[in-house]
């Protein structure tokens, strides 16, 4: 049985919920069980955004992630809040463009990725989330790359088809970064 339990966190506008939706969507396309649970409430307004995603081969009980196989922190407050949620041996992925400190944890696998800078190189800061998604997939194999591409196509739909290219490039850039640092 494999189960990915992922927390994605950042500030509103970074496409945090979208990273989660793409993961869940791709997982569904692979025929697996998925849940996507957003934080909602007063904290959403101008503040932090986060969601929990579970992709599992078995029936999913609680959709709340407490022992994450992967924590994605897109800004410093998210690292502060969710660092402790990663399970020992799990992944802690940081947007090093915005996070000045190193994590305190020593029992997890850590990768700092300058996703904002990599996104700017692709032509828009707005695809930083998809760069992070690419890195996450390269490290965790939470879903297959083809599923992620199909999910991006589905979620963009016909009206945003013109954004497909930049998003796929962003996904590649995230994956390529991981390959480069791992070599």
């Amino acid at each position: 049985m494999t189960e990915e339990r992922i927390i994605v966190a950042g500030f509103g506008g970074q496409g945090i919920l979208m990273i989660g939706k793409l993961l869940a969507h791709a997982g569904m396309m692979e025929g697996r069980n998925v849940t996507w649970l957003p934080a909602y409430g007063p904290e959403m307004r101008g503040g932090t955004a986060n969601c929990n995603v579970i992709i599992s081969d078995v029936l999913i009980g609680a959709p709340i992630v407490t022992e994450a196989t992967c924590v994605i922190a897109m800004n410093l407050p998210s690292l502060d809040r969710f660092e402790s949620f990663a399970q020992p041996g799990g992944w802690l992925l940081l947007n090093s463009s915005l996070i000045p400190r190193a994590p305190a944890r020593h029992d997890v696998q850590i990768l700092a990725i300058p996703v904002s800078d990599l996104a700017r190189q692709q032509g828009s800061l707005r695809v930083a989330n998809v760069v992070m998604l690419g890195a996450c997939l390269a490290l965790t194999q939470a879903v297959r790359k083809e599923s992620a591409i199909a999910a991006i196509e589905d979620v963009l739909g016909p009206s945003k088809r013109h954004l497909l290219g930049i998003n796929l490039n962003a996904l590649e850039a995230g994956m390529a970064f991981v390959t480069k640092v791992q070599v």
Partner: protein, 356 residues
């Protein structure tokens, strides 16, 4: 049909339209706003009508009107809004009209907060408004079930000419899961709506009256007894529940909706600790699955009721268990969702620290 990733609120709204609902009246409130949002967008496309009322009181009375005309009609709200609707719900039950209500519960009392809760159990299952009546209450634990039960709710409402409530919480409303819509067919044998006030042109010149006022006590008593014969029929034929892992369980957790999912995760953790724990999950909260307890009471040592409230379903569990086994309770409230780890700890304490 293909699986589709949807939010719980959207899935419920889509299921209502799939089941032939063409009218929605409501008023916005978090965390159920995607239901009216979806209905406002989609109902006009299928020839239906969406009205954002000036208040929940107005909305439920619009539901009363549409139901009286024989239409499949929905309203949705969250806890404080459902409280405002109670007068109208009582009238609809009194006038014996079908309608579907959705309560995506948030924490109370008062305006409370917007986070998930299950503290409207008493209100939902014991009537809620004034007078002798009940609402049939369905409690989904996942989004496919939310779709299926919402569609079923319209059939049950028509079958019994009574309001049916889909009772979920903010987490189910906001959660996304894959759902599948099969082509919907109404249940066989639903009675014709030969009571609907659609004009004497349609009733062969005979006047039809929809009313909940009976000034002569003997008439009203007869009326209420007739309504309660329907409730007796519901209690015989509409009880739904799920038993999971109860065969060898030393502790049976009783939980519905969101908490039942968390309980399942806790049961899996308990299994790894060598603890035998099962789940009794009521799907109909009214009628409550009293007889299901008889199936497990002999084999279990104790029951643990888990709710996002200070203990409301707990009362029905006490009635069902009838003193045959000890019952413990674990609840979180105010919008806090219990974790599976907290539930495991409760089980360990119940079993005298085993597995700790």
């Amino acid at each position: 049909m293909a699986r589709k990733l949807m939010k719980g609120n959207e899935a419920i709204a889509a299921a209502a339209i799939n089941a032939g609902c063409r009218y929605f009246f409501g008023y916005p409130i978090t965390p159920q706003n995607e239901i009216p949002e979806y209905m406002s967008r989609e109902l006009p496309k299928v020839g239906g009508a969406y009205v954002q009322a000036e208040s929940e009181v107005a909305a439920i009375n619009m539901v009363y009107g549409a139901a009286g005309a024989g239409a499949r009609v929905l309203t949705s709200s969250s806890s404080p809004g459902i409280s405002l609707m109670q007068e109208g719900i009582s009238y609809i039950a009194g006038a014996e009209l079908p309608c579907v209500l959705v309560n995506i519960m948030r924490a109370g009392p008062g305006l409370g907060g917007v986070q998930p809760a299950q503290a409207d159990y008493f209100q939902a299952t014991k009537g809620g408004g004034h007078g002798d009546y009940r609402v049939l209450v369905l409690a989904p634990a996942n989004l496919q079930e939310a779709v299926d039960l919402t569609q079923l709710a319209f059939d049950l409402a028509d079958k019994y000419r009574n309001p049916v409530m889909v009772l979920a919480d903010g987490m189910i409303g906001q959660l996304m899961e894959p759902v599948e819509f099969s082509p919907y067919r109404p249940a066989a044998g639903l009675p014709p709506k030969d009571w609907a006030t659609t004009g004497t042109v349609h009733s062969g010149g005979r006047q039809r009256v929809i009313n909940s006022l009976y000034l002569y006590p003997d008439q009203l008593e007869n009326h209420v007894r007739a309504i309660f014969r329907k409730y007796a029929e519901m209690e015989r034929t509409e009880v739904r529940y799920e038993l999971y892992n109860c065969d060898q369980a030393d502790v049976v957790i009783v939980a519905y909706g969101t908490t039942s999912r968390i309980a399942r995760s806790a049961i899996e953790k308990c299994r790894r600790l060598g603890l035998r724990v099962g789940l009794l999950r009521p799907i109909t909260l009214y009628p409550f699955p009293l007889a299901a307890f008889d199936l497990v009471v002999e084999r279990t040592k104790a029951f643990l009721v888990v709710e996002m409230s200070m203990g409301q379903m707990l009362d029905d569990v006490k009635i069902a268990v009838a003193g045959r086994r000890p019952i413990s309770f674990y609840g979180r409230t105010g919008g806090i969702v219990p974790t599976s780890e907290e539930i495991v700890k409760q089980v360990q304490e119940l079993l005298g620290g085993r597995g700790a």
